[in-house]
Subunit: 211 residues, 2 copies
Amino acid sequence: MTSAAVPEPSAPRRRGRPGHDQATVLRTAVDLFNRRGYDATSMGDLAKELGLTKAAIYHHVDGKEQLLSAALNDALDELEAVVEEAIRDEGTNAHERLRSVVRRSVEVLMAHQPSVTLLLRVRGNSEVEVAALARRRRLDDQLAELVSEAAREGSLRADIPPRLVSRLLFGMVNSLVEWYHSEGSYDPATVAGAVTSLAFEGLTDRPAQRP
Amino acid sequence: MTSAAVPEPSAPRRRGRPGHDQATVLRTAVDLFNRRGYDATSMGDLAKELGLTKAAIYHHVDGKEQLLSAALNDALDELEAVVEEAIRDEGTNAHERLRSVVRRSVEVLMAHQPSVTLLLRVRGNSEVEVAALARRRRLDDQLAELVSEAAREGSLRADIPPRLVSRLLFGMVNSLVEWYHSEGSYDPATVAGAVTSLAFEGLTDRPAQRP
């Protein structure tokens, strides 16, 4: 590294002041978007928050929409990977795959909370948002189909419409982004275990099930 | 009514143009707040949406904060009534009372969706919002206490921390405001039944429980 006088053509030159690389700009932007709302946040606000001039920000990124897009892609890429993996996994039944999707979704939400929070608040006010909503809808469809499959194989109760099960299940999962920070004392594994256990076994204590 | 030449001192005179009473103004305001965000909505926007002048709006209401306050009180009054009734009901055990709170909360959310949506988005940016958050926190505490009580009486599983159970349970309930409109085909009784059944019995089909 230190001996390289000329950067490789393919290696992006690190731009901007130390400590203000693209990742820092993105993280700060997402935090601001979540606190104030995307539409209400200007590039000027972001510059102020970072202690930079607006010109310096544009040295790092093309604009506000690029930051939104990067954050939404981060969240969607992770969630899609969880669902794709579960769909491809042919070694287990649909019940186990659904359970795994729920558990891993909780882990993604907790590890990528800021970008998932932003994703869940998107309302379709721009092309970037409309594209993100389309990807969310595809995920919703895949999850509802997995619920249907589990009900058909007889491992999941079939008396609640699959779409409603899917909405409630991931409504519970998604609610994490709203309250997890204010209940900071739980580790991801505890929360993931609690969500799957509540959803699949239910809250009622069953003495008959005890050994 | 028609013979009353002079209004009773205690009866508020109906103000404004026909079709634009206070209830209409409030309903329209809450809808705008939910679509655009409270902070981003001006009284001018509201006047435009109602086809009135700003002066005419102030004939109906004192200002934006009064509208926010009225909507938040509507949601909180209803939710508090549900919880208070369950706490006072000494004829049933804590498990039944918790189940009843969940079912009735779903009904309140569906009947008062716009004002509950607004309540769930409050972040504490003004005195009115801080007061609403304090009332929400009190409800959260009461719900967590009801979960604890049910666990102590042995009717509810005790292996998940009560506060976490309460967050997940009402996270699922509250998620309704985000997706219920896009899945408009379910009636409130179906949704309330699905939520309570998923939460208390769980999704896993149990052949052993069948008759």
